[in-house]
Symmetry: C2
Subunit: 223 residues, 2 copies
Protein backbone atom coordinates (compact mmCIF):
# COMPACT_ATOMS: atom_id res chain seq x y z
CA UNK A 1 0.00 0.00 0.00
CA UNK A 2 1.41 3.40 -0.86
CA UNK A 3 1.98 6.13 1.68
CA UNK A 4 -0.57 8.50 3.17
CA UNK A 5 -0.74 11.73 1.25
CA UNK A 6 0.24 14.75 3.31
CA UNK A 7 -0.81 18.35 2.63
CA UNK A 8 1.18 21.00 4.45
CA UNK A 9 -0.74 24.17 5.25
CA UNK A 10 1.29 27.32 4.70
CA UNK A 11 -0.74 29.97 6.45
CA UNK A 12 -4.11 31.03 7.75
CA UNK A 13 -6.19 32.99 5.25
CA UNK A 14 -8.63 34.20 7.91
CA UNK A 15 -10.59 36.96 6.20
CA UNK A 16 -13.71 35.87 4.39
CA UNK A 17 -13.78 32.42 5.94
CA UNK A 18 -17.55 32.47 6.47
CA UNK A 19 -18.21 33.19 2.80
CA UNK A 20 -15.76 30.52 1.65
CA UNK A 21 -17.29 28.00 4.04
CA UNK A 22 -20.83 28.72 2.82
CA UNK A 23 -19.70 28.35 -0.80
CA UNK A 24 -17.91 25.06 -0.08
CA UNK A 25 -20.99 23.73 1.75
CA UNK A 26 -23.16 24.52 -1.29
CA UNK A 27 -20.70 22.84 -3.67
CA UNK A 28 -20.68 19.75 -1.47
CA UNK A 29 -24.47 19.71 -1.35
CA UNK A 30 -24.65 19.90 -5.16
CA UNK A 31 -22.26 17.00 -5.57
CA UNK A 32 -24.01 14.95 -2.82
CA UNK A 33 -21.14 14.77 -0.36
CA UNK A 34 -21.83 15.04 3.37
CA UNK A 35 -18.89 16.60 5.21
CA UNK A 36 -18.75 15.91 8.95
CA UNK A 37 -16.51 18.10 11.11
CA UNK A 38 -15.45 16.08 14.16
CA UNK A 39 -13.91 18.10 16.99
CA UNK A 40 -12.60 17.29 20.47
CA UNK A 41 -9.79 17.80 22.95
CA UNK A 42 -6.56 15.86 22.37
CA UNK A 43 -6.93 12.20 23.26
CA UNK A 44 -10.74 11.99 23.37
CA UNK A 45 -10.71 9.07 20.93
CA UNK A 46 -11.59 10.76 17.63
CA UNK A 47 -9.58 8.38 15.45
CA UNK A 48 -10.83 5.25 17.20
CA UNK A 49 -14.39 6.56 16.83
CA UNK A 50 -13.78 7.21 13.12
CA UNK A 51 -12.42 3.67 12.68
CA UNK A 52 -15.49 2.15 14.38
CA UNK A 53 -17.78 4.38 12.31
CA UNK A 54 -16.06 3.22 9.10
CA UNK A 55 -16.56 -0.44 10.14
CA UNK A 56 -20.30 0.14 10.63
CA UNK A 57 -20.98 2.21 7.52
CA UNK A 58 -18.45 1.26 4.86
CA UNK A 59 -20.72 -1.30 3.19
CA UNK A 60 -23.48 1.30 2.71
CA UNK A 61 -21.64 4.59 2.15
CA UNK A 62 -18.54 5.57 0.20
CA UNK A 63 -16.42 7.17 2.94
CA UNK A 64 -13.30 9.33 2.91
CA UNK A 65 -11.35 10.84 5.81
CA UNK A 66 -9.32 14.01 6.34
CA UNK A 67 -6.98 13.97 9.34
CA UNK A 68 -5.73 17.33 10.60
CA UNK A 69 -2.79 17.50 12.98
CA UNK A 70 -0.06 19.89 14.01
CA UNK A 71 2.44 17.16 13.18
CA UNK A 72 2.80 13.40 12.44
CA UNK A 73 0.70 11.02 10.33
CA UNK A 74 -0.14 8.53 13.10
CA UNK A 75 -3.91 9.02 12.79
CA UNK A 76 -3.94 8.97 8.99
CA UNK A 77 -1.85 5.80 9.02
CA UNK A 78 -4.51 4.05 11.13
CA UNK A 79 -7.25 5.07 8.67
CA UNK A 80 -5.07 4.21 5.67
CA UNK A 81 -4.70 0.66 6.98
CA UNK A 82 -8.47 0.14 6.49
CA UNK A 83 -8.22 0.93 2.79
CA UNK A 84 -10.46 4.01 3.14
CA UNK A 85 -9.18 7.07 1.21
CA UNK A 86 -7.45 9.46 3.62
CA UNK A 87 -5.56 12.75 3.44
CA UNK A 88 -3.35 14.09 6.20
CA UNK A 89 -3.44 17.86 6.68
CA UNK A 90 -0.45 19.14 8.60
CA UNK A 91 -1.28 22.50 10.07
CA UNK A 92 2.30 23.35 11.02
CA UNK A 93 1.38 24.81 14.40
CA UNK A 94 -2.00 26.24 13.42
CA UNK A 95 -4.61 25.36 16.02
CA UNK A 96 -7.69 25.11 13.81
CA UNK A 97 -8.94 24.54 10.25
CA UNK A 98 -10.56 27.01 7.87
CA UNK A 99 -12.73 26.38 4.83
CA UNK A 100 -9.91 26.90 2.33
CA UNK A 101 -7.80 24.25 4.06
CA UNK A 102 -10.74 21.84 4.02
CA UNK A 103 -11.17 22.54 0.32
CA UNK A 104 -7.48 21.86 -0.32
CA UNK A 105 -7.73 18.56 1.53
CA UNK A 106 -10.95 17.61 -0.29
CA UNK A 107 -9.27 18.22 -3.64
CA UNK A 108 -6.95 15.31 -2.83
CA UNK A 109 -9.85 12.96 -2.08
CA UNK A 110 -12.12 13.06 -5.16
CA UNK A 111 -15.16 13.99 -3.04
CA UNK A 112 -17.61 13.53 -5.96
CA UNK A 113 -17.02 9.80 -5.57
CA UNK A 114 -17.75 9.91 -1.83
CA UNK A 115 -21.03 10.05 0.12
CA UNK A 116 -19.45 10.93 3.46
CA UNK A 117 -16.20 12.69 4.29
CA UNK A 118 -15.18 12.76 7.94
CA UNK A 119 -12.91 15.67 8.83
CA UNK A 120 -11.02 14.99 12.05
CA UNK A 121 -10.15 18.50 13.21
CA UNK A 122 -7.11 19.49 15.31
CA UNK A 123 -7.41 18.25 18.92
CA UNK A 124 -8.45 21.49 20.64
CA UNK A 125 -11.63 22.73 22.34
CA UNK A 126 -11.03 26.42 21.66
CA UNK A 127 -10.03 27.54 18.18
CA UNK A 128 -11.73 24.94 15.92
CA UNK A 129 -15.13 26.05 17.29
CA UNK A 130 -14.55 29.54 15.91
CA UNK A 131 -14.02 28.63 12.26
CA UNK A 132 -16.63 27.28 9.87
CA UNK A 133 -14.96 24.51 7.85
CA UNK A 134 -17.79 24.22 5.32
CA UNK A 135 -19.06 21.03 6.95
CA UNK A 136 -22.72 19.98 6.77
CA UNK A 137 -22.68 19.16 10.50
CA UNK A 138 -20.36 19.73 13.45
CA UNK A 139 -19.99 16.93 15.97
CA UNK A 140 -18.06 17.05 19.18
CA UNK A 141 -16.51 14.19 21.13
CA UNK A 142 -16.14 14.51 24.90
CA UNK A 143 -14.50 11.64 26.74
CA UNK A 144 -15.44 10.65 30.29
CA UNK A 145 -11.89 11.16 31.72
CA UNK A 146 -12.00 14.85 30.73
CA UNK A 147 -14.70 15.55 33.29
CA UNK A 148 -18.28 16.81 33.40
CA UNK A 149 -17.24 20.47 33.81
CA UNK A 150 -16.15 20.94 30.18
CA UNK A 151 -19.42 22.57 28.99
CA UNK A 152 -18.85 25.30 31.60
CA UNK A 153 -15.32 25.98 30.36
CA UNK A 154 -15.70 25.65 26.59
CA UNK A 155 -19.27 26.84 25.93
CA UNK A 156 -18.73 27.85 22.29
CA UNK A 157 -17.62 24.35 21.28
CA UNK A 158 -20.74 22.77 22.81
CA UNK A 159 -22.93 25.46 21.25
CA UNK A 160 -21.72 25.07 17.66
CA UNK A 161 -22.29 21.31 17.40
CA UNK A 162 -25.40 19.48 16.25
CA UNK A 163 -24.39 16.29 18.04
CA UNK A 164 -22.24 15.37 21.02
CA UNK A 165 -20.67 11.95 21.42
CA UNK A 166 -19.65 11.06 24.97
CA UNK A 167 -16.85 8.52 24.57
CA UNK A 168 -14.98 6.08 26.88
CA UNK A 169 -18.14 5.27 28.86
CA UNK A 170 -16.54 1.89 29.65
CA UNK A 171 -14.22 3.75 32.07
CA UNK A 172 -16.92 5.73 33.91
CA UNK A 173 -16.42 3.85 37.19
CA UNK A 174 -12.83 5.17 37.40
CA UNK A 175 -13.80 8.85 37.13
CA UNK A 176 -15.96 11.43 38.90
CA UNK A 177 -18.15 12.01 35.85
CA UNK A 178 -21.87 12.54 36.31
CA UNK A 179 -23.65 11.78 33.05
CA UNK A 180 -26.84 13.65 33.96
CA UNK A 181 -24.90 16.73 35.08
CA UNK A 182 -23.00 16.93 31.82
CA UNK A 183 -26.18 16.45 29.79
CA UNK A 184 -27.95 19.21 31.72
CA UNK A 185 -25.03 21.57 31.19
CA UNK A 186 -24.85 20.83 27.47
CA UNK A 187 -28.61 21.14 26.92
CA UNK A 188 -28.61 24.49 28.71
CA UNK A 189 -26.12 25.78 26.13
CA UNK A 190 -27.66 23.97 23.19
CA UNK A 191 -31.18 22.58 23.69
CA UNK A 192 -31.36 20.93 20.24
CA UNK A 193 -28.11 18.96 20.46
CA UNK A 194 -28.35 15.18 20.04
CA UNK A 195 -26.23 13.24 22.57
CA UNK A 196 -24.78 9.74 22.12
CA UNK A 197 -22.98 7.66 24.74
CA UNK A 198 -20.37 5.32 23.31
CA UNK A 199 -17.22 3.36 23.95
CA UNK A 200 -15.32 3.38 20.68
CA UNK A 201 -13.00 0.83 22.27
CA UNK A 202 -15.67 -1.78 23.08
CA UNK A 203 -18.17 -0.77 20.39
CA UNK A 204 -20.92 0.02 22.92
CA UNK A 205 -23.42 2.62 21.70
CA UNK A 206 -22.05 2.75 18.14
CA UNK A 207 -25.35 1.71 16.58
CA UNK A 208 -27.32 4.81 17.66
CA UNK A 209 -24.51 7.13 16.59
CA UNK A 210 -23.98 5.52 13.18
CA UNK A 211 -27.76 5.40 12.57
CA UNK A 212 -27.89 9.17 13.14
CA UNK A 213 -24.89 9.74 10.87
CA UNK A 214 -26.30 7.49 8.13
CA UNK A 215 -29.66 9.32 8.25
CA UNK A 216 -28.05 12.76 8.18
CA UNK A 217 -25.84 11.73 5.26
CA UNK A 218 -28.76 10.35 3.26
CA UNK A 219 -30.94 13.42 4.01
CA UNK A 220 -28.15 15.78 2.89
CA UNK A 221 -27.25 13.84 -0.21
CA UNK A 222 -30.89 13.67 -1.33
CA UNK A 223 -31.55 17.36 -0.73
CA UNK B 1 -15.55 34.04 52.19
CA UNK B 2 -15.75 36.67 49.47
CA UNK B 3 -15.94 35.87 45.78
CA UNK B 4 -13.11 34.92 43.43
CA UNK B 5 -11.71 37.94 41.66
CA UNK B 6 -12.15 37.75 37.88
CA UNK B 7 -10.03 39.62 35.33
CA UNK B 8 -11.46 39.77 31.82
CA UNK B 9 -8.87 39.92 29.04
CA UNK B 10 -9.82 42.34 26.29
CA UNK B 11 -7.45 41.45 23.48
CA UNK B 12 -4.21 39.84 22.51
CA UNK B 13 -1.27 42.25 22.42
CA UNK B 14 0.94 39.80 20.50
CA UNK B 15 3.87 41.91 19.32
CA UNK B 16 6.83 42.12 21.64
CA UNK B 17 5.65 39.27 23.86
CA UNK B 18 9.14 37.76 24.20
CA UNK B 19 10.59 41.04 25.49
CA UNK B 20 7.69 41.56 27.91
CA UNK B 21 8.03 37.98 29.17
CA UNK B 22 11.78 38.35 29.75
CA UNK B 23 11.19 41.60 31.66
CA UNK B 24 8.46 40.05 33.81
CA UNK B 25 10.68 37.05 34.58
CA UNK B 26 13.46 39.37 35.76
CA UNK B 27 11.06 41.37 37.94
CA UNK B 28 9.79 38.15 39.51
CA UNK B 29 13.34 36.97 40.12
CA UNK B 30 14.20 40.24 41.86
CA UNK B 31 11.19 40.00 44.12
CA UNK B 32 11.82 36.27 44.83
CA UNK B 33 8.64 34.90 43.30
CA UNK B 34 8.76 31.64 41.34
CA UNK B 35 6.09 31.57 38.61
CA UNK B 36 5.15 28.11 37.34
CA UNK B 37 3.29 27.85 34.01
CA UNK B 38 1.21 24.65 34.06
CA UNK B 39 -0.13 23.54 30.69
CA UNK B 40 -2.19 20.58 29.44
CA UNK B 41 -5.10 19.47 27.30
CA UNK B 42 -8.60 20.04 28.71
CA UNK B 43 -9.44 17.57 31.45
CA UNK B 44 -5.92 16.31 32.24
CA UNK B 45 -6.37 17.14 35.91
CA UNK B 46 -4.52 20.45 36.25
CA UNK B 47 -6.73 21.85 39.01
CA UNK B 48 -6.73 18.63 41.04
CA UNK B 49 -2.93 18.52 40.72
CA UNK B 50 -2.70 22.14 41.87
CA UNK B 51 -4.93 21.35 44.87
CA UNK B 52 -2.74 18.38 45.87
CA UNK B 53 0.39 20.47 45.37
CA UNK B 54 -1.01 23.20 47.65
CA UNK B 55 -1.75 20.58 50.32
CA UNK B 56 1.86 19.34 50.24
CA UNK B 57 3.61 22.73 50.12
CA UNK B 58 1.39 25.30 51.83
CA UNK B 59 3.12 24.97 55.22
CA UNK B 60 6.51 25.74 53.68
CA UNK B 61 5.81 28.16 50.85
CA UNK B 62 3.50 31.14 50.43
CA UNK B 63 1.47 30.09 47.38
CA UNK B 64 -0.85 31.93 44.99
CA UNK B 65 -2.75 30.65 41.94
CA UNK B 66 -3.85 32.16 38.63
CA UNK B 67 -6.58 30.23 36.80
CA UNK B 68 -7.01 30.97 33.10
CA UNK B 69 -10.12 29.84 31.28
CA UNK B 70 -12.20 30.77 28.28
CA UNK B 71 -15.19 30.99 30.60
CA UNK B 72 -16.46 30.08 34.11
CA UNK B 73 -14.82 30.25 37.54
CA UNK B 74 -15.20 26.57 38.45
CA UNK B 75 -11.45 25.99 38.81
CA UNK B 76 -10.79 29.21 40.73
CA UNK B 77 -13.68 28.39 43.07
CA UNK B 78 -12.01 25.08 43.97
CA UNK B 79 -8.74 26.85 44.79
CA UNK B 80 -10.53 29.66 46.62
CA UNK B 81 -12.10 27.09 48.95
CA UNK B 82 -8.61 26.21 50.27
CA UNK B 83 -8.01 29.81 51.38
CA UNK B 84 -5.07 30.22 48.96
CA UNK B 85 -5.11 33.55 47.06
CA UNK B 86 -6.46 33.02 43.54
CA UNK B 87 -7.27 35.15 40.51
CA UNK B 88 -9.46 34.00 37.62
CA UNK B 89 -8.36 35.21 34.19
CA UNK B 90 -11.15 34.97 31.66
CA UNK B 91 -9.65 34.94 28.18
CA UNK B 92 -12.96 35.51 26.40
CA UNK B 93 -12.22 32.99 23.64
CA UNK B 94 -8.48 33.51 23.46
CA UNK B 95 -6.70 30.14 23.38
CA UNK B 96 -3.49 31.07 25.20
CA UNK B 97 -1.89 33.51 27.65
CA UNK B 98 0.74 36.15 26.99
CA UNK B 99 3.12 37.89 29.39
CA UNK B 100 1.02 41.04 29.68
CA UNK B 101 -2.01 38.99 30.73
CA UNK B 102 0.09 37.16 33.32
CA UNK B 103 1.31 40.50 34.61
CA UNK B 104 -2.26 41.79 34.88
CA UNK B 105 -3.27 38.70 36.85
CA UNK B 106 -0.19 38.95 39.10
CA UNK B 107 -1.05 42.54 39.94
CA UNK B 108 -4.20 41.23 41.62
CA UNK B 109 -2.26 38.77 43.77
CA UNK B 110 0.43 40.80 45.59
CA UNK B 111 3.22 38.55 44.26
CA UNK B 112 5.89 40.13 46.51
CA UNK B 113 4.22 38.35 49.41
CA UNK B 114 4.31 34.99 47.59
CA UNK B 115 7.13 32.45 47.07
CA UNK B 116 5.32 30.43 44.41
CA UNK B 117 2.61 31.40 41.94
CA UNK B 118 1.06 28.60 39.91
CA UNK B 119 -0.41 29.75 36.60
CA UNK B 120 -2.93 27.22 35.28
CA UNK B 121 -2.94 28.01 31.57
CA UNK B 122 -5.88 27.49 29.16
CA UNK B 123 -6.54 23.78 28.49
CA UNK B 124 -4.94 23.45 25.05
CA UNK B 125 -1.88 21.62 23.70
CA UNK B 126 -1.28 23.98 20.78
CA UNK B 127 -1.33 27.73 21.38
CA UNK B 128 -0.08 28.05 24.99
CA UNK B 129 3.22 26.39 23.95
CA UNK B 130 3.89 29.26 21.54
CA UNK B 131 3.73 32.14 24.03
CA UNK B 132 6.22 32.86 26.80
CA UNK B 133 4.20 33.87 29.87
CA UNK B 134 7.22 35.10 31.85
CA UNK B 135 7.25 31.96 34.00
CA UNK B 136 10.43 30.61 35.60
CA UNK B 137 9.53 27.08 34.47
CA UNK B 138 7.00 25.47 32.14
CA UNK B 139 5.44 22.20 33.22
CA UNK B 140 3.10 20.04 31.21
CA UNK B 141 0.51 17.57 32.43
CA UNK B 142 -0.37 14.58 30.25
CA UNK B 143 -3.04 12.22 31.52
CA UNK B 144 -3.03 8.49 30.78
CA UNK B 145 -6.47 8.48 29.04
CA UNK B 146 -5.15 10.91 26.39
CA UNK B 147 -2.84 8.25 24.99
CA UNK B 148 0.88 7.71 24.46
CA UNK B 149 0.87 9.24 20.96
CA UNK B 150 0.57 12.86 22.15
CA UNK B 151 4.33 13.68 21.89
CA UNK B 152 4.13 12.78 18.18
CA UNK B 153 1.21 15.13 17.61
CA UNK B 154 2.09 18.10 19.81
CA UNK B 155 5.91 18.18 19.72
CA UNK B 156 6.29 21.89 20.56
CA UNK B 157 4.43 21.54 23.87
CA UNK B 158 6.66 18.67 24.99
CA UNK B 159 9.76 20.57 23.83
CA UNK B 160 9.09 23.81 25.72
CA UNK B 161 8.60 22.24 29.16
CA UNK B 162 11.23 21.55 31.82
CA UNK B 163 9.07 18.91 33.49
CA UNK B 164 6.28 16.56 32.44
CA UNK B 165 3.75 15.17 34.91
CA UNK B 166 1.96 12.03 33.76
CA UNK B 167 -1.34 12.05 35.64
CA UNK B 168 -4.18 9.54 36.26
CA UNK B 169 -1.75 6.61 36.53
CA UNK B 170 -4.35 4.91 38.76
CA UNK B 171 -6.42 4.31 35.59
CA UNK B 172 -3.64 2.82 33.45
CA UNK B 173 -5.18 -0.66 33.36
CA UNK B 174 -8.23 0.74 31.53
CA UNK B 175 -6.23 2.31 28.67
CA UNK B 176 -3.75 1.31 25.98
CA UNK B 177 -1.01 3.54 27.34
CA UNK B 178 2.58 2.35 27.28
CA UNK B 179 4.60 4.32 29.84
CA UNK B 180 7.98 3.44 28.34
CA UNK B 181 6.83 4.37 24.84
CA UNK B 182 5.63 7.79 25.94
CA UNK B 183 8.84 8.43 27.88
CA UNK B 184 10.98 7.48 24.88
CA UNK B 185 8.96 9.77 22.63
CA UNK B 186 9.21 12.69 25.05
CA UNK B 187 12.96 12.23 25.70
CA UNK B 188 13.59 12.16 21.96
CA UNK B 189 12.03 15.63 21.70
CA UNK B 190 13.45 16.93 24.95
CA UNK B 191 16.32 14.89 26.48
CA UNK B 192 16.58 17.08 29.61
CA UNK B 193 12.93 16.96 30.65
CA UNK B 194 12.15 15.60 34.12
CA UNK B 195 9.20 13.18 34.19
CA UNK B 196 6.91 12.45 37.15
CA UNK B 197 4.17 9.82 37.34
CA UNK B 198 1.29 10.75 39.60
CA UNK B 199 -2.34 10.25 40.43
CA UNK B 200 -3.60 13.58 41.69
CA UNK B 201 -6.78 11.75 42.70
CA UNK B 202 -5.12 9.17 44.98
CA UNK B 203 -2.03 11.21 45.86
CA UNK B 204 0.37 8.63 44.41
CA UNK B 205 3.67 10.10 43.20
CA UNK B 206 2.99 13.58 44.62
CA UNK B 207 6.09 13.53 46.83
CA UNK B 208 8.65 13.40 44.01
CA UNK B 209 6.82 16.12 42.06
CA UNK B 210 6.43 18.48 45.02
CA UNK B 211 10.07 17.89 46.07
CA UNK B 212 11.16 19.01 42.60
CA UNK B 213 8.88 22.04 42.70
CA UNK B 214 10.03 23.02 46.22
CA UNK B 215 13.71 22.75 45.16
CA UNK B 216 13.18 24.77 41.98
CA UNK B 217 11.27 27.44 43.92
CA UNK B 218 13.99 27.73 46.58
CA UNK B 219 16.79 27.82 43.96
CA UNK B 220 15.01 30.58 42.03
CA UNK B 221 14.14 32.64 45.06
CA UNK B 222 17.71 32.50 46.37
CA UNK B 223 19.29 33.40 43.02
Amino acid sequence: MNQVRVIQIKQSVMGNNDARAAKLREELREQHTFLLNLMSAPGSGKTTTVLRTIEKLRDELRIGVIEADIDSTVDADRIHATGIPVIQLRTGGLCHLEAEMTQEALSGLDPKALDLVILENVGNLVCPAEFDTGAAKNVMLLSVPEGDDKPLKYPLMFSTCQALIINKIDTIASFDFDMQTVKNRVKKLNPDIVIFEISAKTGQGMLAWTNWLRNETIKWNQS
